[in-house]
């Protein structure tokens, strides 16, 4: 499962243009990493592509932190 966390952190760092060591499990995309709502849409699309899944909007709106993303992906993978 560490693998998912690593990949999520990579994607978040890349998509939000922040340093990898700024991103922790607790990081909130909007509050801590400076994303806006459209950045979060792009982030969710990047998770979908990397993990080859489809994340419906009902679920996507609950993914606000790195940890949210990791536990969601662990559940569905």
């Amino acid at each position: 499962m560490d693998n998912i966390l690593d990949k999520v952190i990579d994607i978040v760092a890349e998509e939000l243009a922040v340093d990898r060591d700024e991103v922790t499990e607790d990081s909130s995309f909007i509050e801590d990493l400076g994303a806006d709502s459209l950045d979060v849409v792009e982030l969710v699309m990047a998770f979908e592509e990397e993990f080859d899944v489809e994340i419906p909007d009902e679920d996507a709106e609950n993914i606000r932190t790195v940890e949210d993303a990791v536990s969601y992906l662990e559940d569905i993978l």
Binding site: D36, S37, L38, V41, E42, M45, P56, D57, E58, E61
Partner: protein
């Protein structure tokens, strides 16, 4: 040789023009006038409660038997009620703004309403297309009211390339040259807001219309960037005050509070000095208040002329 696009077939309208669902401004009267003139009139729900909007829907149905739409502003505290109302009333076309309508789309599709979300980015356009929405409105920052960052010129062709449903362009179109231009970018229709504000049928205060008629090219400025919900409105006491507070680093929540209710002040009460005169960058192009029918006919005529003269460049 009349100008027609796939959007006309999709929405069962004669002319590829839909009217922006502007809060407070887009009442039943304006929407019905646009539908009667061959476009798609749209009621703007803004932040109004459901009982107010129900009356507007009834008004449109009384004034026209043509298709019309309802714009749902997803940031509204009444958004859920408005969605229930739209479904109960079987509004033929739903447009949405200020957010991601993904989780509601299915409910509209189940009753046969057409769904057309406003999208300010390629990623959101792609997600919407995946839900089988009927079209998307790609709105550039030239528009009035809540705006994104990208220009219409840059956003429209990128959205057109990303999705295989009709794309409606919005923001920066105030006449037939603009319509011809967005067709050239691959859009199949246009959403126009500000030009319709300055119509005889629009119920906004005369002060509001005159402020737009009197505006010059650089007057439609963006305020409230720090709040995450930036708004384009005409420069006045309010926009200067907001700029000042933003440059002082005042808490965005406080800035949001100051903006609240200000659109109503301008549209209904005609307080265009201290209210928010939401209008697009094409305000400087508007010099006259005319009937909706004249506005639409003029846009179509000029668009056809423009397309023909551009064609004649080829020789």
């Amino acid at each position: 040789m009349a100008l027609k696009t796939e959007l006309c077939d999709l929405l069962e309208i004669e002319k590829p023009i839909i009217q922006g669902g502007m809060a407070w401004v887009a009442t039943g009267e304006l929407a019905a006038a646009v539908s009667n003139a061959g476009g798609l009139g749209v009621i703007g729900a803004g932040s109004a409660p459901a009982d107010v909007i129900e009356k507007e829907i009834d008004k449109v149905r009384k004034l026209t038997d043509k298709p019309f739409g309802l714009n749902i502003m997803l940031l509204s505290p009444f958004a859920e009620d408005i969605i229930d109302l739209a479904i109960a009333k079987e509004v033929p076309v739903i447009t949405t703004g200020a957010g991601n309508p993904g989780k509601y789309v299915k409910r509209f599709q189940e009753i046969g309403s057409k769904v057309i979300p406003v999208v300010p980015s390629v990623a959101l356009a792609k997600r919407m297309a995946r839900l089988d929405v009927d079209a998307v409105i790609a709105e550039g920052t030239e528009a009035g009211g809540h705006v994104g960052e990208l220009t219409t010129m840059a956003l429209v062709p990128q959205v057109v390339d990303a999705v295989d449903i009709p794309v409606i362009a919005a923001g920066g179109v105030g006449d037939g040259r603009g319509l011809a231009a967005i067709l050239a970018l691959g859009a199949s229709g246009v959403q126009i807001g500000t030009r319709f504000v300055c119509s005889e049928e629009c119920t906004a205060s005369l002060n509001f219309k005159k402020a737009i008629v009197g505006a010059r090219d650089r007057d439609a400025v963006v305020t409230g960037r720090s709040t995450g919900h930036p708004v384009r409105n005409l420069k006045n006491k309010l926009t200067k005050e907001m700029d000042k507070l933003e440059s002082q680093g005042v808490d965005p929540k406080k800035i949001e509070e100051i903006g609240s209710g200000k659109l109503r002040d301008a549209v209904i009460d005609g307080n265009v000095k201290e209210g928010s005169v939401m209008a697009g960058q094409i305000s400087g192009m508007i010099s006259e208040i005319k009937s909706v029918k004249e506005i639409i006919e003029e846009i179509l005529l000029k668009a056809e002329e423009t397309i023909k003269s551009n064609y004649n460049l080829l020789n």
